[in-house]
């Protein structure tokens, strides 16, 4: 028995050779193919959100290949990798796919945890990370985070827009003074990120912010909602995910809190969150990334070029046009446009490297005319990124569940950057200091 250690080391070698065999170096793809890695979660507690999201991302790529034959003739190839919302699985996916097929064009990690882990690796590997709608929020500062792109809004801008809509419903920003708002959040970095912004807003507008964490996965929330019943906040901002969302709405019903006074973040604002609740959730509000609850020409194209040819990723056509699926399409549209932009600089009709994709992301300029052309005219507002601004735009609308489907119930809002910018700056500065990064000078670029 005393020779166990020897075998341990031998076992290591066996494992090593096995792994060598498995991961025979990925063959560089032909020049006419652009590789897109897709990190998804189709299992685990967030699967109901992850599945349509992943399908939307896939469907858009299929549609581009089918309708346009790729980008200027460059076909898109892709591979899904399941993360189960798990950081180490996500890191494995990232490491595996970053060099595949001539380099993973960009990573949309779909998870706050994976983003944090990958964000530090990306600059070394020269791979851009796009985190549409989740952040981290301070990575909007492109001078400190050259490789991160929280396009179309972050949790901080979302917080501001939700508060704007609440203020509007109450009849003006000044009405917020002295009132109480509650943040019910998933107890994780995902749920904690908006706190900074909401606290800043509370200071500015003079409302009181109640913080109520819900332990993941959020299946038991009675005490949270009893506290809400006792403290009677004017509105509840719900930073939920997965099963926590329907549970919150059910508990709201059980404690008699009006659903009209709940505002969910976009990840808590998909059909899967409320469909089963039906009339119970009637009146529940959520913020949508841009106008993702509407139906646009892009959806028709997906149905025509993908689903009519039985290539659809979702089980049923009905999923096309749902909020989560549309978000997936938007993400992929931005990806495709970033690659197109990069091609315009580095050579049309040629596959671009991840580094070139980064340039594309940083010089994205999608005008309203272009959006109309792409079929996203009513789903989005123009996006323009720059070295300093990696977010591009922060437009959003509020959607409301009518018992049967989501309706867009507000006009377009844009986040008040006078509140958000200082927070971004402070966060980015702290990060730069911790990591010893010298920020780029954007005025020179």
């Amino acid at each position: 028995m005393n020779t166990k250690f020897a075998h341990g080391i031998r076992g290591l070698a066996v494992a090593g050779t096995m792994a060598f065999a498995l991961t025979a170096p990925s063959i560089a793809a032909a020049q006419s193919e652009q590789f897109i890695p897709l990190l998804v979660y189709r299992t685990g507690s967030f699967a109901p959100l992850g599945i349509p999201w992943a399908n939307g991302k896939l469907d858009y790529l299929k549609m581009i290949n089918e309708r346009d034959g790729g980008i200027n003739g460059v076909k898109m190839v892709y591979e899904e990798c399941e993360t189960a919302y798990n950081t180490d699985r996500g890191v494995e996916c990232y490491e595996r796919l970053k060099t595949k097929g001539g380099g993973g064009s960009l990573f949309d990690t779909q998870s706050t945890g994976i983003t944090y882990a990958v964000m530090d690796k990306a600059p070394l590997d020269k791979v851009p990370v796009m985190t549409m709608g989740y952040g981290r929020s301070d990575s909007a500062d492109g001078s400190v985070f050259p490789w991160s792109f929280p396009l179309l809004g972050t949790y901080w801008t979302a917080s501001d827009i939700i508060v704007q809509d609440i203020a509007k419903k109450m009849g003006g920003v000044d009405k917020l003074k002295g009132k109480k708002l509650a943040l019910v959040y998933h107890d994780s970095p995902y749920g904690k990120e908006p706190i900074t912004a909401l606290q800043a807003l509370a200071r500015k507008h003079g409302f009181e912010l109640m913080l109520l964490p819900v332990i993941a996965p959020g299946v038991e929330q009675k005490s949270t909602w009893l506290q809400i019943r006792q403290q009677r906040p004017e509105y509840v901002i719900l930073w939920a995910a997965g099963i926590m969302t329907p549970t919150s709405i059910r508990e709201a019903q059980a404690t008699g809190f009006p659903r009209e006074k709940i505002y969910g973040i976009w990840w808590a604002g998909s059909e899967s969150d409320v469909r089963d609740l039906g009339a119970t959730a009637k009146g529940y509000n959520a913020i949508a990334i841009q106008g993702s609850a509407d139906y646009g020409k892009a959806h028709d194209d997906i149905l025509k070029y993908v689903y009519d040819k039985n290539q659809g990723s979702a089980d049923s056509r009905a999923e096309v046009g749902t909020v989560a699926h549309t978000r997936g399409m938007m993400i992929q549209m931005l990806t495709v446009e970033a690659i197109r932009t990069a091609q315009e600089k580095y050579g049309k009709g040629k596959a671009v490297t991840p580094e070139q994709v980064r340039w594309g992301l940083e010089n994205l300029d999608i005008s309203q005319a272009r959006l109309d052309e792409l079929g996203f005219g009513n789903l989005m507002r123009p996006v323009k990124t720059s070295c300093a601004d990696h977010m591009g735009s922060s437009w959003a609308r509020i959607i409301t569940w009518n018992g049967d489907k989501y309706e867009t119930t507000s006009d377009w809002y844009e986040a008040d950057m006078s509140v958000i910018d200082p927070l971004v700056k402070a966060g980015a500065d702290k990060y730069a200091k911790e990591k010893g990064i010298t920020p780029r000078d954007c005025s020179k670029e």
Partner: protein, 354 residues
């Protein structure tokens, strides 16, 4: 034929007490360490190092730590993930607050903090056994998960509660590329594996095993259960804490408490069951198995032109893990380590098995 020990006589007690009694073993081990140190960093791809070998090494280390507690001392623990978290957060805090402390010391101090926490949560083991103890370690898991989320001082007031490490160096040498990190982890694993292997052969180690086999009987023959159990908790938590710090610093780079959740605790427990309870080498086998299985499941079907959809692969992985646990418990409670030693016995006699 080649693995014969005829003619190798033990002429002194020192020789009799060697870890590797057979010359071939010694040669093989040295060759392996040499390959691991010299050849692997040169040949292995970036992916292999970063996504397979580094996690494998770190998880083996954690499994060794857990094996000391569960396999050698018989105290079941479902809070391993939390003790890893203590190591990681403590090391990180030391690094942030006192940047002058070298990385090696940071990690070892992280381990020491985990030791302290481990001993505190080990105290119930003096009164509770088996299942009830498992529940008390679950309490540790949930409490520590909460603490790292809720106490801002522990994450240096980071807005989201995630922490990330800066650039790393080891006494002036950079720790940036995959092979540097790999070698750093390898060093830890080799050193701790040797220490653990030797530790279980000492008085303390034998006391642990006596407690495991029957604590009342061990008490009767004069072993102090309190001392034995708490030392097991201490040593185990130290190693687990160090591995946690390595997991955070070397593998993830940035993490949130979710990285050290209850799932991690279960995963480590599975490693030592599959690898072999009460076996240092088994910890390596178990870690290799658990790290490789998902990768095999995603890649191998594709090689044969049968692409498994990603969600099926994960569900399949769950089913395979679960079934294997049951199969091992039924058919081979000593795990892969036992299979290995059976193979070795066969090899000694081969090709003349009589």
């Amino acid at each position: 034929m080649f693995y014969r020990e005829n003619g190798q006589f033990k002429a002194s007690y020192v020789e009799d007490l060697r870890i590797f009694k057979v010359t071939q073993d010694r040669v093989a081990v040295l060759a392996l360490v040499a390959i691991a140190v010299l050849l692997v960093p040169m040949l292995a791809s970036d992916y292999l190092l970063r996504a397979v070998l580094i996690p494998f090494l770190i998880l083996s280390l954690a499994a060794i730590g857990l094996n000391i507690l569960v396999g050698y001392c018989g105290q079941i623990s479902l809070g391993t993930g939390a003790f890893m978290a203590v190591g990681a957060y403590a090391a990180w805090n030391i690094g942030v607050r006192i940047p002058e402390v070298p990385l090696l010391v940071q990690i070892l101090l992280g381990g020491l903090c985990a030791t302290a926490v481990g001993v505190v949560f080990g105290i119930p083991s003096l009164r509770l056994r088996g299942l009830y103890l498992a529940v008390s370690t679950l309490a540790a898991q949930f409490f520590l998960d909460w603490a790292f989320l809720r106490i801002p001082a522990l994450t240096n007031h980071s807005a989201s509660g995630s922490v990330s490490v800066g650039t790393l160096s080891f006494f002036g040498l950079p720790l940036e590329s995959a092979w540097q990190k790999y070698l750093f982890c390898l060093g830890f694993v080799v050193v701790f594996a040797v220490i653990a292997k030797n530790l279980v052969r000492t008085t303390t180690g034998r006391q642990w095993m006596a407690i495991r086999d029957m604590d009342i009987a061990a008490g009767v023959i004069g072993i102090r259960p309190a001392y034995a159990k708490l030392t097991a908790f201490a040593v185990s938590s130290f190693i687990v804490g160090v591995s946690g710090a390595l997991w955070g610093f070397m593998h993830l780079g940035a993490w949130e408490p979710l990285a050290f959740s209850l799932d991690r605790s279960f995963q480590l427990l599975f490693m030592i069951i599959i690898g072999g309870l009460g076996s240092i080498v088994g910890s390596f086998f178990g870690a290799a198995f658990i790290v490789l299985l998902p990768i095999v499941l995603t890649n191998v079907p594709a090689l044969f032109g049968l692409p498994l959809s990603v969600d099926t692969a994960v569900h399949l992985e769950h089913i395979i893990f679960g079934s294997l646990i049951v199969i091992f418990l039924i058919a081979e409670p000593h795990g892969l380590a036992r299979l290995w030693s059976i193979g070795r016995e066969k090899l000694r006699l081969w090709p003349f098995p009589y």
